[in-house]
């Protein structure tokens, strides 16, 4: 595999574009990179006689792997993942299953990707505020308090990413506060023209049954009004059941988290 050069971005973008649900994060990132570099994002790819075979994207401390071919050669990809010792690797479930057989120091889990193509009207959005960078430490602490949502993130890493996304307008957050404390949050973790990924939706337990409904439908409504295609990821049985009942299932994905966290 070799690093993707700037003049090759279009080629990679076209490869991703054929199968957006399975590569929505790297698709959005490479779409945005057309406007300039980001030192926190690196792409590698390899080709065979049929064209592009595999693409890797390193984003901060994680790597996304993508190939249209579930039987692609994963040797080089595994080497790059080992070399960078990233905390998390994600991609199509078929690829993650094979990678996890090679990289046993990672623990894999599997989930589904849904398209959020409809929402309910939120008639009173008075309590919902757009978050600013000043809110981010509290948001990151809230998200990381729930392993099913915070996942492999530490609050520090998540803060850094959220602030960067807010500053570059590739992500936004909404919050509901009660007595000064944030009790509900939702966000886009990636945005480009016409597309967004909604994630980080969390409501403090015991703080009311209506907030998940309000904040999630608010952000979906706003993004749909902007004409965006919206995706979200779900792993836990409960969230998969909820999204299956509400949204359109479009892909299976997997993620592998480094066992025991970082050793360095």
């Amino acid at each position: 595999m070799r690093p993707v050069k700037r003049n090759e971005y279009n080629k990679i973008w076209r490869y991703y574009k054929r199968d957006i649900p399975n590569c929505v994060y790297p698709y959005i990132n490479i779409t945005n990179l057309k406007n300039g570099e980001d030192k926190n994002i690196t792409f590698w790819y390899d080709e065979n006689e049929n064209g592009i075979e595999t693409v890797l994207m390193k984003y901060y401390d994680s790597i996304h792997i993508y190939s249209l071919n579930d039987l692609c050669d994963l040797t080089d990809a595994a080497k790059i993942i080992c070399k960078h010792n990233v905390s998390m690797v994600s991609g199509k479930s078929a690829l993650i299953k094979r990678l996890n057989d090679i990289l046993e120091n990672y623990e894999a889990e599997y989930g589904f990707i849904f398209e959020m193509d409809s929402c309910r009207a939120v008639k009173n959005s008075n309590g919902i505020q757009r978050a600013t960078v000043d809110d981010v430490p509290e948001i990151a602490a809230l998200i990381c308090s729930d392993k099913s949502i915070g996942g492999h993130y530490t609050p520090e890493v998540l803060e850094k990413q959220m602030i960067s996304r807010m500053q570059t307008q590739t992500g936004r957050s909404y919050i509901i506060r009660r007595e000064g404390a944030i009790i509900a949050h939702t966000a886009t973790y990636a945005e480009a023209d016409g597309i967004a990924v909604v994630s980080g939706t969390i409501v403090t337990p015991g703080c009311g049954h209506e907030h998940y409904f309000l904040i999630s439908n608010f952000i979906i409504g706003e993004l749909l009004n902007e004409g965006r295609q919206i995706f979200t990821f779900a792993v836990s049985d409960k969230m998969v059941r909820y999204h299956r009942a509400t949204h359109k299932e479009c892909a299976e994905y997997g993620k592998m988290v480094l066992r025991g966290g970082k050793t360095q």
């Binding site: 309910r120 009207a121 939120v122 008639k123 509900a184 409501v203 337990p205 015991g206 703080c207 009311g208 049954h209 209506e210 907030h211 998940y212 409904f213 309000l214 409960k238 969230m239 059941r241 909820y242 009942a245 509400t246």
Partner: protein
């Protein structure tokens, strides 16, 4: 009708327990996500779309029965 109504609670909260005394946060499954699952099951069961106010106001088994009357459904 009552059977459909009870089944919606059973499906949403994955429980066989009698639903008559259930209300928001009376069981861990009826949290903010569980609430949306219950609303989805109720809407599917009775082929209705609840208004936002009714989704928010659906805070107990008993209250839900009252709300459904607005949609000409008597449980």
């Amino acid at each position: 009708m009552k059977e459909l109504y009870n089944q919606a609670f059973a499906k949403a909260f994955s429980t066989d327990a009698a639903p008559e005394n259930l209300s928001v946060n009376s069981i861990s499954a009826w949290d903010s996500v569980g609430h949306m699952m219950l609303i989805g099951e109720i809407e599917d069961a009775f082929d209705i779309m609840l208004d936002t106010e009714d989704i928010i106001g659906f805070v107990s088994y008993e209250k839900g029965m009252e709300i459904l009357k607005k949609y000409d459904i008597t449980v």
